[in-house]
């Protein structure tokens, strides 16, 4: 067997240029290029330069080879074609000509080139249409859900209790640790904020007002809503999205069973029930966090703290928080289920749905919070 590094030498005589291939051809080594070799060979043999017709090969000294040789041969082939030389492969081993044949095979189907990207103006228009479509889809889904609840409450369809209890469990004991942690810290943060600001005016005592108002009216419901949007809303979207990919949703459709009745209603009802309960718990924990800071930082007694808090915070404040909780629960369930059912069919679609569900859920929660606060201020609740 020949050895040594890859080499190719071209000898031109009359109308034939024979490329002698020798040595071991490896992709790791520096490889000869065909065109400069041929140009050099023709320069040395000036008489052949005009008469050359055919490019041939002599592989008698060829050692081992890999794709590097094929690359060289394809270079020589395309150069020969561009110069209208005949490309004679009879001097090459059969295994190589077979691979060249495979590489030269024409794809059976002509691929249509992808359409050119639309112009800037068209992109704006398309984005507008897409936004409008998603609004229409949202309103349509809302309508379907309302119709579904109507069917459920008039007894036309049975309640799917199992799915309901799964949601209740996931958002009950399952959500308690994270809600505890966040609510406690939010209570602590509000109290610190109050302590820092109010103590400057010697009004540290009023920190209990701030904690009570802050947790019960706003932060308890808001933080729980955001936690549940990230936890459960994303979970709903991923769950329903996977069902779309595994054709489980199609299986409902071809039985004429509404996925809203079977999948969406129990999930939304589960959140509807659990959100207020979670918020009551979050309110309590948050107030305890605030109490801790008040006792440690401002030397208030527990009694002073609660007397102060209860002298201004009313039941209506807590009820407003609970009202918000039910609204947020509905929002999270709605956003999660809608994006889950609208999932595309590729693998990354489930992830996108879950993300969209969380983004939409949190956005709508904040908007709803602002609207409710504004109305509450208007009606002096």
């Amino acid at each position: 067997m020949a050895s040594g590094s890859a080499s190719a030498t071209i000898r031109a005589s009359n109308d034939l240029a024979v490329t002698a291939l020798a040595g071991d051809w490896r992709l790791d080594d520096a490889l000869p290029r065909f065109e400069p070799l041929l140009v050099a060979a023709l320069a040395a043999e000036a008489s052949s330069a005009r008469t050359i017709r055919t490019v041939g090969f002599d592989a008698t000294a060829l050692g081992t080879w890999d794709s590097s040789l094929l690359i060289f041969l394809r270079q020589s082939q395309s150069y020969s074609e561009s110069q209208h030389y005949a490309f004679d492969t009879t001097g090459l081993p059969e295994r190589i000509t077979q691979l060249l044949g495979l590489a030269n095979a024409v794809p059976e189907r002509v691929i249509e080139p992808p359409a050119a990207p639309p112009s800037r103006v068209a992109q704006i228009g398309l984005a507008g249409i897409a936004a409008w479509d998603s609004i229409v889809a949202g309103v349509t889904f809302l309508g379907e859900v309302v119709q579904g609840f109507f069917r459920l409450f008039t007894g036309q369809v049975p309640m799917q209790w199992r799915a309901f209890w799964v949601v209740v469990q996931a958002n009950g004991s399952g959500a308690l640790p994270i809600v505890t942690l966040i609510a406690l810290l939010v209570g602590v943060i509000i109290a610190f904020l109050g302590a820092v600001v109010l103590q400057r005016f010697g009004a540290g005592y009023y920190v209990s007002y701030l904690v009570g108002y802050g947790m019960l009216r706003e932060m308890g419901a808001l933080m729980t809503g955001i936690i549940i949007a990230g936890r459960t809303g994303a979970g709903f979207a991923a769950e329903l999205g996977s069902m779309k990919i595994t054709e489980e949703l199609d299986a409902y459709a071809t039985l004429g069973i509404s996925p809203v009745d079977h999948l969406v209603l129990p999930r939304m009802l589960g959140l509807f029930v659990m959100m207020p309960l979670l918020v009551i718990y979050a309110d309590l924990v948050g107030v305890l966090g605030g109490l801790f800071v008040a006792v440690v930082q401002i030397d208030l007694s527990t009694t002073q703290f609660f007397i102060g808090m209860l002298s201004v915070v009313e039941l209506s404040d807590a009820l407003l928080g609970l009202f918000k909780a039910t609204v947020y629960g509905a929002i999270v369930g709605f956003a999660g289920c809608m994006h889950g059912l609208r999932t595309g069919s590729d693998a990354s679609a489930v992830g996108r749905s879950a993300t969209s569900a969380v983004v939409l859920g949190i956005t709508l929660i904040i908007v709803a919070n602002a609207v409710i606060d504004w109305l509450a201020a208007l009606w002096k609740i």
Partner: protein, 261 residues
């Protein structure tokens, strides 16, 4: 009284994805009680055609009729009536993963029939036994093998004794033994219940085994180019594409590879 409406009737159906026409001029009628195969290469729109047939994709009015009814224009009540008479076996079974096998089979019965609870349990036991899954009712889909999952899905598809059964690539992802077992079941159901069966597949062994008639979707011509008994189509192919499909011929012969490029 004998019902003479063909179970599946397709007239000049054009399938398109946005503005791109995938298949056009599809016209065929499936006869009562036969096993009808839709065959074609990957990307030829076989599964899309199935979606048109079972009403998951909107078809032009009048193009697709299932048991005489056009699902694209039917009102909800009529639509429900048709859906009650068809069964679908999806590619990977599509069993509802949150329900046990028994509950999967029971759901169509409890939703679409007036059967009392006890009768439903009996039907479920029978259907699971028919597909060889006696005693597996309390298992969840994730706890059984792919072949068993498909058979459980078949039990769900035949829960309501449908007039027409649709199969999407029944042998995909199955070993040869499981695949042929599913073929046996298809033949047995067609023969015993007189169910009309429409199968989308490109599995040649399965095609020759089960099909009474088949259509071939040719992706290069964007329409159907053959209709008939697959064995006859193989022996006297109407065109080269059908011959190559049915004889598993890639078109790149050894001769071609050796010849000087």
């Amino acid at each position: 009284m004998e019902d003479l409406t063909p179970p599946v009737e397709v007239k000049n159906l054009t399938m398109q994805y946005e503005s791109l026409v995938v298949m056009k001029d599809l016209t065929f009628t499936v006869n009562r009680g036969e096993v009808f195969v839709i065959m074609g290469g990957s990307g030829s729109g076989k599964s899309t055609l199935l979606k048109h047939l079972i009403g998951l994709k909107q078809s032009p009015p009048g193009a697709v009729r299932i048991t005489g009814e056009d699902l694209s224009t039917a009102d909800p009540a009529a639509r429900k009536k048709v859906l009650r008479r068809i069964g679908v076996l999806y590619q990977n079974g599509a069993l509802w993963s949150g329900l046990t096998l028994a509950e999967n089979v029971a759901l169509p019965l409890s939703e679409l029939s007036e059967l009392p609870e006890a009768a439903i349990a009996e039907v479920v036991a029978l259907k699971l036994a028919l597909v060889g899954l006696h005693g597996y009712g309390e298992f969840y889909p994730s706890q059984i093998s792919g072949g068993m999952r498909k058979r459980a899905a078949l039990a769900r598809a035949i829960a309501l004794d449908p007039d027409v059964l649709f199969f999407d690539e029944p042998s995909s992802g199955l070993d040869p033994i499981s695949a042929s077992r599913l073929d046996d079941l298809i033949i047995a159901i067609a023969a015993s219940f007189g169910t009309t069966i429409v199968v989308v597949t490109h599995d040649l062994a399965s095609i020759f085994r089960i099909a009474d008639r088949a259509i071939f979707l040719d992706i290069s011509k964007r329409t159907m180019t053959a209709l008939g008994d697959p064995a006859e189509l193989r022996d006297s192919p109407p065109n080269d594409e059908v011959r190559r499909f049915l004889t598993r011929d890639s078109g790149t012969s050894q001769e071609h590879l050796k010849s000087t490029p």
